[in-house]
């Protein structure tokens, strides 16, 4: 329950705060949340320190074998406490720092959200949950860095942070998934217990690589260190919180957490310590040369994180203790330094070290606090930084075996120590002394009291820990280190004084050397005249992103533009390959046609005619109207083929559709100026022709081969049961309205929808009158005779359709063509088809009603019935419910065809003559 409270409270507060208007209430909520967390953590501390890990679990992702498990041991407790306690101070600080900002509620909501994510990382008892919270910290930090969003630096900084930490997230996901497989479970406790199995797994190198990428990217280790400097665009409270105490420590936390599982191999030792060392030196040196106050602190953070990483890399139990200790120390002094920098920024309006000078006169209180904190950072004795740095020197000296590193580590430690002293000196000297301020717009003065209080508290902790480490942090440190090690603690001592020994000498040397280096470089403001140093790695990162984006643009540009023909060609090519490969590779023996000298049985030559005109239509030398006429000829020959090959229904439909299509295209052609053909290279020509031939030939071959096959088909059933099952003799019509009536329902829906689209799409043009075929004195009279006859024939075709060629489709098409012709010839709108949409609605409604009527009798949709009632006078009357369905089809076809064709018939009046 307590765990649930700790994990969920920040989220709830974030949710509430985001809906608030008042920054004040939001602050109090956030602050109360932090205080509650600190109190809760304090209350459960004794139990946790005693070694009792708390754990709750709920079922969550059975598919992954993962659960929603929270687990709190001493290591997690320590980090949670850091998150909560520093959070409380930062909230307090931010209230004054950001006073008056309209976005304050959002700020506190985001901070609480981040805190929730961070606590999730710390408390996660399941690898999947851990990865999830890890990603959430990335998102939350992205949002916090982007808090001042339209500002350019914020945008770039946020994006860089998200990209780098996103990379880490991706790597962590991969690592976690493989780790879970290797350990056999995603549960943290089980994973921690199966270190040997994991290290023996063949996937171990992969796991380690991904894991380290995740850790290094989050903790700004080389080569990912650049994002942290960029992230300084965030408001200072964010930097104080995320970039000193929490977010960047998530990586360290992960290193410590999985130390028992992953450490203990050569790979771990070399990679982690090498990266840590490089980062340590790089950050330390770079920090000295920054002109941005926060930049200096950022690089110092990088350097200190490198130090901790290096310590963990040493893979010695005492080094782990030192690492944990330094985590605490760094969090305290760095947070206070960031806050002090924020005060400077706040009061001076700039944090450029070249402008900010001699502030001691204006703000002695802030100055003294900052000087103490900086001294802690530099490792001055009697402050906490000194203690952990001493342990670090000790560890670097204690290294054995690994020769190059054992030799280099103390050296690196020494250089880094000196660099730390140098940038700390610069921080103190360049801000509070070093002459007069340059070009400040206002006179700085002390900040409000409550802004300095958090700094004071943190500095006091630095002092307290530095003076009496064992009583203040001893228990927590021991418990956390024990949890991190997963076993017994090594012997170590937390004391201010260890006597005169080598580490003390190194410390002294570092202090002296550091001050000397700064004095040498910074004399007479020589440092100020150096150009702003390039952010190492950031430019490479930008270049990489740019190159990737260019690559993407090039890729997508290939897809853009007027390349419909390329798309068509791609589709044709893929289809040819997909259908061709099985045929060419398969055991298809080409069945050669047996050419017999049989009599010409009819329509066959018609197909040749069709083929010739298809070729003619392709010719680029004829005008568009001719192409349409050729199409008409092709359509006619197809229709003839249907007629000759026992498909009277098809012949009829094809004929009517052909006429309707030609009519439509002819009407449309007037408004469709056709551009001349573009010249293409011979090569392209040949390619397209080859592809077309392959596609066409392939289709022909497929058809040929398939026609050789005579499988037993389901249509035998349709033929056998057309009469007794569906009450009709025309098997095609019976299939359409009964056996596969559902297809027909969909098909008329398509027709109706297409008609609606065209009708509404050309609505603007429809405002004009319909253009009639004026000038022909014969047409109107002919149409007056034809139209009623066509209607009569349509009725005839509809009524006989179930038994003989005909049916709703053809009847509807005929009626519609008649109506269109009439509208064009007479230029009149008759009332029945003035609203063709009603035909659609009526038709669809009738079809639906007929289909659905069977539901009332407990039969499925579309079940039909038929009968042959014998009526007086009329005799036997064949009735089928499917006929009503067919009538609906008819109505839809009429309406849709009318709309499809007439939509193109509006516009200018015909020129007379």
């Amino acid at each position: 329950m307590t765990l649930l409270l700790i994990a969920l409270l920040p989220w709830c507060v974030a949710l509430v705060a985001s809906r608030l208007r008042s920054g004040e209430i939001a602050f109090w909520l956030a602050f109360a949340c932090c205080v509650t967390l600190v109190a809760t953590l304090g209350a459960i501390a004794p139990g946790v320190w005693a070694g009792g890990a708390m754990r709750i679990s709920a079922e969550w992702l059975p598919g992954l074998g993962a659960a929603a498990t929270l687990r709190l041991d001493a290591l997690a407790w320590l980090f949670a406490m850091l998150v909560a306690a520093i959070g409380a101070l930062v909230m307090l600080y931010a209230r004054y720092y950001l006073a008056g900002d309209r976005q304050l509620p959002r700020f506190f909501a985001l901070m609480c959200g981040f805190m929730g994510a961070m606590l999730g990382v710390v408390l996660a008892g399941d690898l999947i949950l851990l990865a999830l919270c890890w990603e959430l910290t990335s998102v939350a930090s992205f949002l916090l860095i982007a808090f001042n969003a339209p500002e350019r630096g914020a945008l770039r900084g946020a994006r860089a942070a998200l990209t780098v930490t996103g990379l880490g997230g991706v790597a962590l996901i991969a690592a976690v998934l493989m780790l879970g497989r290797a350990a056999g479970s995603f549960d943290l406790a089980e994973v921690l217990a199966s270190g040997a199995a994991v290290r023996a797994d063949p996937r171990y190198p992969w796991i380690l690589a991904c894991f380290l990428i995740a850790v290094f990217s989050k903790s700004a280790q080389f080569p990912f260190q650049f994002w942290l400097a960029r992230a300084m665009a965030a408001p200072t409270p964010v930097s104080a919180y995320l970039h000193s105490a929490t977010l960047v420590k998530a990586g360290i936390f992960l290193l410590l957490r999985f130390y028992p599982v992953l450490a203990g191999s050569e790979a771990w030792f070399f990679t982690v310590s090498a990266v840590g060392a490089v980062t340590l030196l790089l950050g330390g040196v770079a920090a000295v040369f920054q002109h941005d106050l926060k930049g200096l602190l950022a690089y110092s953070t990088v350097s200190h994180l490198g130090l901790i990483t290096l310590l963990i890399g040493f893979s010695a139990d005492t080094a782990i203790v030192a690492a944990v200790f330094h985590v605490i120390n760094h969090a305290t002094f760095k947070a206070s330094l960031f806050m002090a920098a924020g005060i400077v920024d706040h009061e001076c309006g700039t944090r450029d070290l070249r402008k900010v000078n001699g502030l001691w006169r204006f703000m002695p209180l802030t100055g003294s606090l900052a000087i103490v904190a900086a001294a802690a950072m530099a490792g001055v004795p009697l402050l906490n930084g000194f203690l952990s740095k001493e342990m670090f020197f000790d560890e670097s000296l204690a290294l054995e075996g690994h020769d190059p590193i054992a030799l280099l580590a103390p050296l690196a430690a020494l250089v880094a120590g000196a660099a730390g002293v140098a940038y700390s000196s610069r921080f103190v000297h360049d801000v509070f002394f070093n002459g007069e301020p340059v070009g400040l717009t206002r006179t700085p003065h002390e900040p409000p009291l409550w802004m300095a209080v958090p700094v004071g508290i943190l500095v006091a902790i630095c002092l307290l820990v530095g003076l009496m480490p064992e009583p203040v942090v001893g228990v927590a440190l021991a418990a956390a280190a024990r949890a991190a090690l997963g076993g017994a603690l090594p012997a170590y001592s937390l004391a201010v004084w260890h006597g005169f020994n080598l580490p003390l000498a190194m410390s002294t040397f570092a202090l002296v050397a550091g001050v000397a280096v700064y004095a040498a470089h910074g004399r007479g403001r020589r440092l100020h005249r150096r150009p702003t140093p390039v952010a190492i790695g950031y430019e490479a990162f930008e270049c990489l992103l740019l190159a990737l984006a260019r690559c993407g643009q090039t890729l997508t540009r290939q897809l853009r533009g007027d390349h419909m023909r390329l798309q068509m060609a791609a589709l044709a090519l893929v289809a040819v390959v997909a259908a061709g490969v099985p045929l060419l590779l398969g055991p298809v023996a080409v069945t050669l046609p047996a050419i017999s000298a049989g009599a010409v049985s009819g329509g066959e030559i018609i197909w040749l005619v069709g083929a010739v005109f298809a070729l003619g239509a392709v010719s680029g030398k004829v005008r568009p109207v001719t192409v349409l006429l050729f199409l008409g000829a092709v359509g006619l020959s197809v229709s003839m083929a249907f007629a000759a090959l026992s498909a009277p229904d098809l012949a009829l439909t094809q004929l009517f559709v052909e006429v309707a299509t030609v009519l439509l295209l002819m009407l449309a052609l007037e408004r469709m100026p056709v551009e001349p053909l573009r010249q293409r290279s011979l090569g392209a020509h040949i390619r397209y022709i080859a592809l077309a031939l392959a596609g066409g030939g392939g289709c022909g071959w497929l058809a040929w081969e398939a026609m050789q096959r005579k499988p037993t088909t389901i249509s035998d059933f349709h033929l056998l049961h057309a009469v007794d099952g569906a009450g009709g003799t025309n098997a095609v019509n019976v299939i359409i309205v009964d056996f596969r009536g559902f297809d027909t329902l969909g098909e008329v829906t398509v027709l109706a929808a297409a008609a609606l689209i065209v009708w509404s799409f050309l609505a603007r043009e429809r405002s004009g009158a319909i253009t009639r075929f004026r000038g022909s004195f014969m047409l109107p009279l002919a149409v007056r005779v034809l139209m009623p006859s066509a209607a009569l024939v349509a009725v005839h075709l509809y009524l006989r359709g179930h038994n003989l060629p005909g049916g709703g489709f053809v009847a509807g098409l005929l009626l519609a063509i008649g109506l269109v012709l009439e509208a064009l010839a007479l230029g009149s709108w008759r009332s029945p088809h003035a609203k063709p949409v009603r035909w659609l609605a009526g038709g669809l409604g009738l079809a639906l009603a007929t289909s659905g009527a069977s539901l009332a009798f407990g039969f499925p949709f579309l079940t039909s019935t038929f009968g042959h009632p014998v009526l007086p006078l009329l005799g036997e009357l064949p009735l089928a419910s499917a006929a009503a369905f067919d009538l609906g089809v008819l109505a839809v076809v009429v309406g849709a065809t009318l709309m499809l064709i007439l939509a193109f018939a509006f516009g200018r009046e015909e020129r007379s003559g």
Partner: protein, 107 residues
């Protein structure tokens, strides 16, 4: 000359012409290509129904039916559906092309 050979040849020619038109990159040709393609495809579907002359799938109202004596009615029904859908799509396509061409003229 068998029905099958003629059908296959017709399908080949129609589809080849259609593909060539489609790949020519002119909007008008796309309409022509789609129309030709639908002819070819309809014939293809139709060809799957063991086509032959004088075997229309219209069964006697009374008496027994021997399915082998008729052409396969199912592909015909499918072609019918395809024809109607093709008509609807042609209309749609033409409307879009008109709009496109007009937009070119305006801009």
């Amino acid at each position: 000359m068998s029905v099958e050979l003629m059908l296959a040849a017709a399908i080949a020619v129609l589809v080849a012409c259609a593909l060539y038109c489609l790949m020519r990159g002119r909007l008008f040709d796309v309409i022509v290509g789609i129309t030709l393609l639908s002819y070819g495809v309809n014939l293809f579907l139709f060809a799957m129904g063991r086509p032959a002359a004088n075997r229309a799938p219209i069964v006697p109202a009374h008496g027994s039916v021997v399915p082998a004596e008729y052409v396969d009615p199912l592909p015909q029904a499918l072609v019918l559906t395809a024809i109607v859908i093709g008509f609807a799509m042609t209309g749609l396509m033409v409307a879009l092309v008109i709009k496109r061409v007009q937009s070119k003229g305006e801009g």
